[in-house]
């Protein structure tokens, strides 16, 4: 029997939200164990968030959290959980200023107050930044340093949590595999915070880290918690497509557009956003959902760029202006063979962020006693479309709230008795693919259906083609059937029994979570027979008033239970 490691607060995922939760729980006087399947502070999505963070601090111009809230609701196309959106906007300024005190290094105006820029969908200049191409890494470093100063926070990297341990509806902790040794690990906690991020790796083209495999959603579903708004995946419209670019974030063109405008053109070198109810004209005002649909509609109409996207053209911007704005980056682009003064680049939508997630109240409680969620793992605050700049704010605000609430729960409820037998049963899950892998090796054959890595690639292609920015009922039905077939087939997929750092087993565990998440996204997308925000159905191209409600999913045995739920009003 594995002896469980005891802690007061267990935080799963060490991106921005998880690190903030750990800090908040520790300063409330609780012992914290902070786990990540990658390296603390380096995996997760935060480090890839290169641009801006929105909060109504009113340094650049007069602003108010109520205005930020109104903009967030408008972008969410009527589906935001108002209480969560209000919490996000209300706490944003305090978190930004706290990060400033911790040395985040926000860019400043001449008067010493923080610099703020405008981002699409915001009614004020509201977005702070460190360096428009480096904000995420700077933020991650600040939190890493702050976490390291907390004597009550113990950090462990390369731990892959495979299941939450839930008995009588109460979360007792989690079981994990230690990638560095291959050993099972059990964690007994009074409160658990799920901060394991989003699901962007479900799609062929994605802009977040490789470990965004829907872990938080899959863990929550298996534990019995509810997911909301799972159909709303945000695609970043102008992600780099061609020529091939390495060593740079594919969403790097956003800051270029903030500073230099640039023209978005179709394959015929003509502007096109005006055909889709928006405009470009070298400005950067159209929201992400509109631009994603517009680019793909042009491609479908035979007016795409050669690689199946649109052109982003900076040829009219003088070289001196390019260099003044992005000097070192211009050199890195030249090394990649890209000369912006000579040729336009090609861009197209890429999976970027997930609006949906675990249903929570404003204390980030999931409804399962002892289980909290934070960051991108949380669903509802952004409704059908997230405003630019609201993701890192969400990581800070929901992270801090979750950590504080988890600490209060420890005080109130204390440690519930551990269930070693249940933990052992759950911890046996990763042993199964290894047994299949050993049997296959003994027969000198590959396991049925190829390696987990191959199946992930096949799943990514299916999701991009059928459950991407443009969807149809028939395509969604076909995808759902295929995803469920793969889920049934998963037990026949083996993983090689090689340790330490068994990447084949990691792929299998990722695939298990990706499939559970894919099923949730696809089922919700099939149920929503309308188009709204990031969810676009060619068979139902208009929004429907009666669909102004949230799709809530729970696991019911092996099946998913799907319910339409009226917009929630959770008291702050």
């Amino acid at each position: 029997m594995v002896t469980p490691k005891r802690t007061e607060v267990l935080v799963i995922g060490a991106g921005g939200a998880g690190m903030y939760a750990a800090i908040a729980a520790a300063r409330a006087g609780r012992d914290v164990l902070l786990l990540d399947k990658s390296l603390i502070g380096r995996g997760g999505a935060t480090i890839m968030a290169q641009m801006t963070v929105s909060a109504a601090i009113g340094h650049a111009e007069p602003d108010d959290p109520d205005l930020h809230y109104a903009d967030t609701l408008r972008a969410g196309r009527g589906l935001c959980n108002p209480a969560l959106a209000r919490a996000l906007c209300a706490d944003g300024p305090a978190r930004i200023l706290e990060m400033d005190a911790w040395g985040a290094g926000w860019a400043r105006q001449a008067d010493g107050r923080l610099a703020q820029v405008h981002a699409p969908g915001h009614s004020r200049r509201r977005c702070v930044y460190v360096d428009p191409l480096n904000t995420g890494p700077a933020v991650a470093r600040t939190l890493q340093a702050r976490v390291a100063q907390e004597a009550r926070v113990r950090r462990v990297s390369n731990l892959v949590v495979t299941d939450l341990v839930v008995r009588d509806g109460c979360c007792l902790g989690a079981v994990a595999v230690d990638l560095n040794t291959g050993e099972p690990r059990h964690f007994h906690a009074a409160a658990t915070v799920l901060a394991a991020g989003g699901l962007t790796r479900l799609f062929r083209r994605n802009s977040a880290s490789a470990n965004m495999t829907g872990d938080a959603y899959a863990l929550a579903l298996r534990a019995g918690a509810a997911l909301v708004d799972m159909e709303f995946v945000q695609f970043f419209p102008i992600a780099h497509l061609a020529p091939r670019l390495v060593g740079m974030d594919p969403i790097m063109w956003d800051p270029f557009r903030y500073k230099l405008g640039g023209r978005l053109l179709n394959g015929e070198m003509a502007e096109f956003l005006d055909r889709y109810g928006s405009s470009d004209a070298g400005q950067y005002v159209a929201t992400r959902d509109v631009v994603s649909h517009a680019i793909l509609a042009e491609v479908a109409a035979g007016r795409g760029s050669p690689h199946g996207g649109a052109y982003l053209d900076f040829r009219h911007v003088p070289d001196a202006s390019l260099r003044a704005a992005f000097g070192p980056v211009i050199d890195r682009l030249l090394k990649n063979g890209i000369d912006l003064t000579q040729t336009p680049v090609e861009v197209s939508p890429m999976a970027h962020y997930h609006m949906g997630g675990i249903r929570c109240d404003t204390q980030m409680a999931t409804g399962l006693p002892g289980l909290y969620a934070a960051g991108e793992a949380v669903g509802g605050a952004h409704g059908a479309n997230r405003l630019s700049g609201n993701a890192i704010t969400e990581a800070f605000v929901f992270g801090e709230r979750a950590g504080r609430a988890a600490a209060a729960w420890v005080q109130q409820a204390g440690l519930t008795a551990w269930d070693g037998a249940l933990a052992a049963e759950l911890a046996a899950v990763p042993q199964r693919p290894l047994a299949v892998g050993r049997a296959a090796a003994a027969h000198k054959g590959a396991g049925a259906g190829g390696s987990p890595a191959q199946l992930i690639a096949t799943l990514q292609a299916l999701m991009a083609d059928q459950v991407g920015p443009v969807r149809t009922g028939a395509g969604l039905e076909q995808a759902l059937e295929q995803i469920r077939a793969w889920q049934r087939h998963l037990s026949e997929i083996g993983a090689a029994d090689v340790h330490p750092f068994n990447t084949d087993l990691l792929d299998w565990l990722d695939l298990r979570n990706l499939l559970a998440t894919a099923e949730a996204v696809t089922a919700a997308a099939l149920a929503r027979q309308e188009s709204r925000g990031a969810h676009f159905r060619t068979d139902f191209p208009e929004s429907r008033e009666q669909a102004t409600a949230n799709v809530v999913l729970r696991r019911c045995g092996a099946a998913l239970d799907l319910r339409w739920t009226p917009l929630e009003e959770v008291r702050v």
Binding site: L39, I47, N206, S209, V246, G247, N336
Partner: protein
Amino acid sequence: MSEEPRRATVRVRRGGPGEPPRYDEWSVPYEEGMSVLDALLQVRQLHDPTLAVRYSCLNANACKECSALIDGKAGYLCTARPGDQPVTCEPLPRKPWLRDLVVDLNSSGKGG
């Protein structure tokens, strides 16, 4: 006579501490502008899923997890590019070696 399509070849140190030195070599389809990490991920998908390589961000050089010795020099797999000759990839020296290209990069943190 049609020309053979170009391929990228990687030569990778395999195994872990205490094992006799061993290298595996694979070639994968070359794609204009590809990184060495792209080639290694192709190897994992097409040839050997057990190849251990650490990465988190995707070719963005943000997470810095994919550091390794590339043709004998420390660098990042995601920004190095394969050329006409095989690229030799080895784990970083002076870090606890786990397996293949993976070392313990986190030895500074409490509990690592």
